[in-house]
């Protein structure tokens, strides 16, 4: 397929999105990530039955937390696709990249750099 997606995206592989916990996403932001995108299997197609539903709820929790601390809940998003949908992956990757570019850098990263 040789598809392109933005180089700003770093992929972290997990056995299932159900493995992704709230603290993992928060740590990413604490360390300076500008956005986090969780990509899980199609709803109803989870090999572990409910992993992607758990992930969606956790993403919603993180959105609330980020809104509270003033970073903006839009920086974290969940997508669903099947493993055969490469073009859709590339599309979503582009979409989140554009969204983050629009939001600008993580304010925490800027403040951290300023302090250092």
């Amino acid at each position: 397929m040789r598809l392109n997606y933005p180089t700003s995206i770093k992929i972290i592989r997990v056995p299932c999105t159900g493995k992704v916990d709230v603290i993992h996403m928060l740590r990413a932001f604490e360390k300076g990530a500008d956005g986090v995108c969780v990509i899980g299997c199609m709803e109803g197609d989870c090999h572990y039955k409910a992993g992607n539903f758990r992930a969606r709820k956790r993403v919603e929790q993180v959105q609330k937390i980020l809104n509270t601390v003033g970073i903006g809940g839009d920086r974290v998003k969940m997508f669903n696709l099947s493993s055969g949908e490469g073009p859709l992956f590339a599309k979503y990757a582009k979409e989140i990249h554009e969204k983050i570019m629009e939001l600008g850098p993580n304010p925490i990263k800027l403040k951290k750099n300023k302090a250092a």
């Binding site: 509270t68 970073i71 403040k111």
Partner: protein, 222 residues
């Protein structure tokens, strides 16, 4: 177990907004099971506060410790050497833990990070319901194992009342009438004769009505 619910993080921020060194203290017991104050929640709260303060441009040190229990001297002693380093401690144990902590460490303000709710059971993940009000004088033997004190809105001992309709309570159509449950249970146990017996007036002095309570067991004291 003691069931607690998370406090809104805005409320916790308000407690500690002027502090420079904060300890988030979790508990490995009941609040871990009800996912409000265990090690995981300590991590999430600490991370949230760190990001909040960084975003405000404040340099605040936030540490995380989770104790086996916060309602026992021996476990609370584990932080004796480090507690003085902090301007504030946010305890996300139940109200017992927060108070025991405050009694033991006089010079440091201790703030609650959860709202302690009741003594209950895990019906399923994310759903906890009340089962006991610690009235100090257990009636479960005569009510088929269903507690009218905690599960009947009126706490009546010879029910049901006129508000019981189709097995549900008048305060909420989704709430089971405790006395309907008791009758059904006694019927299943073939003990409906017990239901006919009038329950005498309960001695409420062992309940909270008699003021703060204590249990003294000289047989286990050293």
């Amino acid at each position: 177990m003691i069931v607690a619910d998370k406090k809104p993080v805005e409320e916790i921020i308000e407690f500690v907004k002027d502090d420079k060194k904060i300890l988030i203290l979790g508990c490995n017991e009941c609040v871990t099971v009800c996912e409000a104050g265990g090690k995981k929640e300590v991590g999430v709260l600490a991370s949230t506060l760190r990001m909040y303060f960084l975003n405000q441009g404040k340099d605040v040190k936030i540490d995380e410790i989770t104790l086996e229990r916060q309602c026992d001297h021996e476990y609370l002693e584990e932080i004796r050497d480090v507690a003085d380093e902090y301007d504030a401690i946010v305890s996300i144990a139940c109200g017992v833990g927060v108070q025991f902590m405050a009694e033991k460490y006089h010079s440091i303000p201790v703030y609650p990070g959860v709202n302690t709710c009741f003594l209950g059971a895990t019906e399923k993940r994310g759903l906890w319901t009340e089962r006991c009000q610690a009235c100090g004088n257990c009636l479960l033997a005569i009510t088929g194992g269903i507690c009218p004190v905690s599960r009947c809105a009126k706490r009546i001992l010879n029910g049901p009342c006129g508000g019981s309709s189709k097995g549900k309570c008048e305060i909420d159509s989704n709430l089971d009438c405790a006395w309907q449950l008791i009758v059904d249970r006694l019927k299943a146990l073939d003990r409906l004769d017990d239901y006919e017996k009038i329950c005498p007036i309960k001695d409420w002095s062992t309940d909270r009505a008699g003021g703060p309570r204590k249990v003294v067991r000289e047989d286990v004291q050293i």
